[in-house]
Amino acid sequence: MRPRASRPSPLRSGTTGLPHPVPRLRATSFAVLGFLALVAGVARAQTPPATARATTTSSLPALSAAAADVQNDNGQALHVQWTAPAGVEQVIVERGSTPAGPFTVLDTVSAEGGSFDDNDVPRGKPVFYRLTGLGAHGPTPPAVIGPVVAVAQWFNTGRTNVAFFSVIFFAFVLFFLWSSRGGRKLFVRRIAGIDAIEEAVGRATEMGRPVLFVPGVQDIDDIQTMAALVILESVARTAAQYETKMIVPTNYPVPFTLAQEMVKNGFLEAGRPESYDPNSVRYITSEQFAYVAAINGIILRDRPAANLYLGAFFAESLILAETGFSTGAIQVAGTANVHQLPFMVVACDYTLIGEELYAASAYLSREPRLLSTLKGSDYMKVVIILLLLIGSVIETSFVLKNPPTQSLGQVSSPFKSWFRTE
């Protein structure tokens, strides 16, 4: 867009009004004027936000405006706000690097909003904004504000609460890690579903049928898939010890590759590398229901005696579980997808609910370093429970003392407000 012509400087417009100045007087005048210009220029540079200077474009006054740095950002955003006189419907927002321009039009926005967010500001450089109101009476005099500088912050203060609790969590984990190195034994309660995995593999061995392990329907970026693949290594080790065949269908290339490694490692650690069958891990398809149809086919044809569904599951969980039940297999399921838990609880013999899936690798290996993270998250849960109780009391008493009003609605207590995250 063609930049608008810059406003003529008052120092260059018109005359000084002096008739035929004598040379010394002229020099003195110019020196005085130059000094005044310098002072004016310095004053303007030091005075954010500048206010508009009216010209005679319209009968309406210029917008009253201000600009400020947006907090908690990467230093490329400025917030411009204005109060528009009645009759102004739209505002043209322009940006330039000097108060005299040239200015580039950023947008024309409704005056009603009263603000504009410029998210593409050069970092660390002072900029100026020129705002011109548009209405039935014609354009208002442009209001130039600035200089204002977008600054990047080093910490997002809107997430102080998350940082605080993250530090507490890490502190718990590090404490238990440190104490586990001292040989301290960490207690973990019995998780029936995880114990049932070994039972299921044993049953498959007795019946001479394979073990089916489905590591969920998500890709490797889902932490449930990672947790499932770690459990797969333990299951593969057990299956290798019992010399039981495994079938591991996967639906993404990266989990497929990792699953192969996990099964191979499991057989190696059991001391049976020769028993490892590379075709036990299969890549099927990334399409959810095609994958499920393929697994159903495997269940109905190969008739595994133990079906382990561990990982992220969605709508297919009941289809898998019912098909597996129809073949008489023992079924252990585990997922953190809460919406599928009811189906798994109803249709499977054992279910790992939510965090039990994540605890499984630590539970199976009993490695102190893994157990320490489990203890850390358990203690964090205690902190959350205490906060819930304390928060309920505080919020309830605050609400009783400050009932909702028509204008403000229900106001939250400062305690609750502190937990909001931006």
Partner: protein, 218 residues
């Protein structure tokens, strides 16, 4: 070294992404944005990897006339047919009158909807077979399920239209969904979220390094 490099990369990138949530400064957010964009590119490449994997795995079985090899032929022919038709039809491949759209609606959409529809049958058979009221908690669950099932459909409106306001079936269903159900779900979600944090921390710190091993002993 084969094990150290993946662990170091995981730790460094994980730490940067963790900081990225708290630090908006470009010193951290710059690399953070880069990694976000990199994820999109890596995942896009993985699609190609998946297709190649599909081709080699099924191609091998077809070549040696392995188990169920005719179905593998159907799979590969379908895959290449969809790709070829989409490429031939170019930009307009999603227009209603194209062959791609016809194949999408006739095969893909129908088969997907069919598989999803199986759930209705399986829910009924699972409800008959497995939903046993063995104790008080199971009984409460069954009663709640009955209220919610009735309250979410028009038949619930019809049955309870003249009941006192506040205890009509849709209102009871809403109350169950918004209160006890929500509380229990939040509790499970909190536990699961802590589990995610601890698993993520294990991976970043290299404690859960089993995925970084490649053969050999731990």
């Amino acid at each position: 070294m084969q094990r150290q490099i993946p662990l170091i990369l995981t730790g460094v990138i994980g730490f940067v992404m963790l900081l990225y949530f708290f630090v908006p400064h470009p010193f951290i957010s710059g690399p953070g944005h880069f990694f976000e964009d990199a994820v999109i590119i890596v995942v896009a490449f993985a699609i190609v990897l998946g297709a190649a994997n599909l081709l080699t795995f099924n191609g091998e079985i077809i070549a040696r006339r392995g188990k169920d090899w005719p179905y593998k032929v159907v799979l590969l022919v379908s895959m290449f047919a969809m790709i070829a038709i989409g490429l031939v039809e170019g930009e307009r491949y999603l227009e209603p009158e194209t062959v791609f759209s016809w194949m999408y609606n006739t095969f893909y959409a129908s088969m997907q909807a069919t598989m999803f529809a199986l759930l209705a049958f399986f829910i009924a058979s699972a409800a008959f077979r497995a939903f046993r009221i063995r104790n008080l908690e199971a009984g409460l669950l069954a009663v709640a399920a009955l209220f919610v099932m009735l309250g979410r459909v028009p038949i619930g409106n019809v049955i309870s239209a003249h009941w006192p306001n506040g205890i009509q079936l849709p209102q009871i269903s809403d109350w169950i969904m918004e209160n006890p159900q929500n509380s229990a779900k939040r509790a499970i979600l909190m536990g699961a979220a802590l589990g995610v944090m601890s698993t993520g921390l294990r991976i970043i710190m290299g404690i859960e390094g089993s995925f970084a091993r490649s053969g050999g002993n731990s």
